[in-house]
Amino acid sequence: MTNHWIDIRNADRIMIIGSNAAENHPISFKWVTKAIEQGAKLISVDPRFTRTSSKAHIYAPLRSGTDIAFINGMIKYVLDDMEKNPQSYNMEYVREYTNASFLIDPAFKLPADMNGVFSGYNPKKRSYSKGTWSYQLDSDGIHKKDKTLSHPDCVFQLLKKHVSRYDAQTVCNITGTPADVYNEVCRTFAESGKRGKAGTIMYAMGTTQHTYGTQNIRGYAILQLLLANMGVAGGGINALRGESNVQGSTDHAILFHYLPGYLKCPEEDDVSVDTYSRIKYEGKNKDPRSADWWGNARKYIVSLLKSWYGDKATPENDFAFGYLPKREVGKDYSHISLFETMYDGDIKGMICLGQNPAVGGPNAQKERKALEKLDWLVCADLWETDTANFWRRPKGDDLDDTVDPASIKTEVFLLPAAASMEKEGSITNSGRWSQWRYTAVHPPGRAKSDLWILDRLFKAVSARYKNQGGPIAGAILDMAWDYGTGDEPDVHAVAKEINGYDLNTGKLLPSFGILKADGTTSSGNWLYCASYTEAGNMATRRNGLDPTNIGLYPEWAWCWPVNRRIIYNRASVDMKGRPWDKKHPVIVFKGGASDGKYISRKWIGDVPDGGWYPLMNPDGTLRDDAKYPFIMKPEGHARIFGMGRVDGPLPEHYEPLESPLTKNPMGHATRINPAIKLWHEVRPENNKIGTPDEFPIVGTTYRVTEHWQAGAMTRNLPWLVELMPDVFVEMSVELAAEKGIKNGNKIIVTTARGTLEGIACVTPRFKPFKLNGKSVHQIGIPWHWGYTGLARGSSANCLTPHVGDANTMIPEYKAFLCNVNKKEVV
């Protein structure tokens, strides 16, 4: 989240899209409810009417996978309305804080002029060369701008041109949203664009799990920037993380393409700290008013190496940079790719810590089969998971007709793990708050914490290397690994290492601002530097004071970065440092002024995104010593035009890989995201893709309140199984009538990859979508079930395809093609 949970209460408009917050993040509704009771309007956008929708003022249905059309239409509404009613928007914000005024290379072309792709596309490689997606620079290397926003090459005009094709009628023919409802959504959410008003977007996996999930979020970003909703209280783009500590695990680099603190993973051509820092981070900006914070990355990578390799990281050996694994440029080590590689027999072993891919992975039958290729599999979990149990899994829908265990060679180890309440440590919530938790009860039997398991594993691997040697043994043997002498590793030693030390004094560092690239500081994660200082463990703080009255609670736990509760908060004030929203000021400049000039610096409120002077003096003159508010971008401005993504600088509507439409309804020849990897073409075995003539119905998957993810934790709890005992399939009354299905009937769902048996939930909460007059049905299935545990049932992921987002490779769980039939009773 750019903001945080409590901050939702400050919103005037809330749009929940790609999220069913009431069901999957019930606690968020404490704050949504509060906001509504203070007059906020809630908009729920979802293919089906959910428990979230039941509380909304406006419910807008949309066909799965059509968010970009939906949002681009909203952007068009806002741009059109801006022309008619500029006083209803914060044009200063758009002009000064975003890249709306920046001029783009005149050779850049939009999809309307390129048959659905942006300029630079190479169809053979299915990828873009981004040469034309760049700013025009003057002779000093400063970005050319047109503050009148009228130059045809400026971002604002390019955006306008791009979304002009997304009129409400076109949008509704794609999304299936009733036109009157859509217009009401546009009008209602656009009202948050007024100065002093705030609108928030809450999203989750319904947004991301598409082949253009990243572009979905880009759409939200553009909309929120036009409405001046970034950085302000009650605004932002708020990712509701699907597990309590997903934010923490992401911060600490659970993903393959990052090191801790979102430092980019080194690639094979990064031969030294110097090349890594220069190529990836340095010299990206020449504008003295841009802080370009990532320009500091060299300090962070060196401090990280000092943290990992201690005294063995020296200037002479380039701080042991050579030990870091380097990934092949552009190579993908994400979930689908790993399982495809495993299926090919190229991966020998796997450790699953609290993960259950046999239920949670897409194309689950293929992934279960891939597990057979492993020599060994280690699962650490609270219960025996479906993954740990894959060697006696059912062949098909009959749960008791299993594969022959004797035919599977994989050796499986099941390690009993401690639950979150059975161990001490930090947990970082979606709002970036790192909160310390204590051991409430000791783990049962021989169950151990993940920390214990990893510590023992490391020590065993290390001993093996010491005795027998091995390739790049130094990467293991030189590692600084000292977490005490007790049976349980000292979790505080880990937390302190993450914070980092001044290596000259041995003292814990107070802030990442003083990290150095010379090897005199360490930090296991620069973003968490300041979380555990000489003043103590900040994550344990429990002071409920709220001096700002906007719910920041600055001394409750700790928030990255540097306890900043709302990031980009310097966009919450005007150029002179005065808050747009006087009722909910995030920060306020309170420095002294003389003769119309600020003469001393002081910000109050939240920790500002840099404590520099405001951009403008009280007399309206610009200051040279000020910095633009979006400090994480080299140009200091938020990107409406975003050249960082691989699949386009602006979102364009494409269809899901499996879609009921055989053509892109935007009228061009590019049906699907042109930059995604097509697994079914490069690895056709067990990667079938369905067509609408055979599978005319849209399918989607989701979660319910009563179960947790792949279900191991909840399908074994009788009280929860009582609430949600069986796999069910939600469908409209109309579809059920066509198929002769009655509520409560057993049904079979089929896709090109597999089948699912479930119970029909026939409900008016699902409605067929009208697309250009044609009716398209959609169904939805919760994906929690598997073949192990107290409550068993078909896994919805036996239906989903191996295909992922172009940028992140997150699987497209949310839109696929299927068919539904009543189960014939024998």
Partner: protein
């Protein structure tokens, strides 16, 4: 005199997460029921001796063709004019000064007079214990200054608990807010059956939530006729004596009764 207590169930805030249902089972250590998905999220299908509170999932179908989804927490409403206590021939059902209507499992003879006469169909006969059981507003917690278990877990504040006067004050405040938002809210249980100790704030009419618009006690004649049929049976039951006592003490241990 003990202050009257009450629960306030603000239906407008409930989003059907069912944390309350699980909290109830956990605190009272009730067994999970073996259920099946039958085409609705509501489960178990109805209250039972092991399920003292339940979220009803209601999907009105005939409303401008727009889907709606309503959630109501079903439980004992702890009436002042508690017909269950009035018809109980053994005196097992006590109306406490704080308003809680409580079935003493040690005395309940399982005659089901309360089951038959409750206007809300709340008390349920337990074939294992031979007694009738229902929500007791976590009397054991309340006596120790705690809120009922369900009220502690509600994320949106749809379940509140405190002095009845305070709950009424909050209900009126919320009623005003909902009125301003265009609803026609009703405080259900303020006056009904002498005033209840679990009140609802309903955004609209009661019948859509499956509640009687005007809950009434069965007429005395009906009650009397019914009781005449039960009393001879009771005499026989009493004769079984020692066996029943054993069962009672078991159930008493289970519910932590006084």
């Amino acid at each position: 005199m003990t202050a009257e207590l009450s629960m306030l169930i603000d239906v407008s805030r409930c989003m059907g997460c069912r944390g309350c249902q699980v909290a109830c089972k956990q605190w009272n250590q009730h067994k999970a029921e073996k259920t099946r998905f039958t085409g609705t999220y509501q489960n178990p299908p109805q209250l039972s001796p092991e399920t003292w509170t339940l979220i009803q999932f209601i999907e009105p179908v005939d409303y401008d063709d727009n889907p709606r989804w309503l959630f109501r927490k079903q439980q004992c409403l702890h009436c002042t004019d508690a017909v269950c206590a009035q018809v109980c021939p053994t005196g097992a059902i006590n109306k406490l000064e704080n308003g809680i209507v409580y079935i003493n499992q040690g005395i309940c003879a399982g005659c089901k007079a309360c089951v038959e006469t409750c206007p809300f169909h709340i008390p349920k006969f337990d074939h294992h214990s031979g007694t009738v059981r229902k929500c007791w507003l976590c009397l054991d917690r309340v006596k120790n200054g705690l809120k009922p278990a369900c009220a502690t877990v509600c994320p949106t504040g749809a379940i509140r608990f405190g002095s009845r006067a305070e709950m009424l004050r909050i209900a009126r405040e919320r009623q005003q807010i909902l009125t301003n938002q265009g609803f026609a809210p009703r405080i259900y249980g303020e006056k009904e059956l002498g005033g209840q100790h679990a009140m609802y704030l309903l955004p609209e009419n009661a019948s859509i939530y499956g509640l009687p618009e005007n809950p009434r006690k069965p007429t005395e004649k009906i009650i009397w006729r019914w009781l005449m049929g039960v009393i001879p049976g009771l005499a026989i039951l009493a004769g079984i004596g020692s066996y029943l006592l054993k069962e009672r003490s078991k159930s008493e241990a289970k519910t932590g009764g006084e």
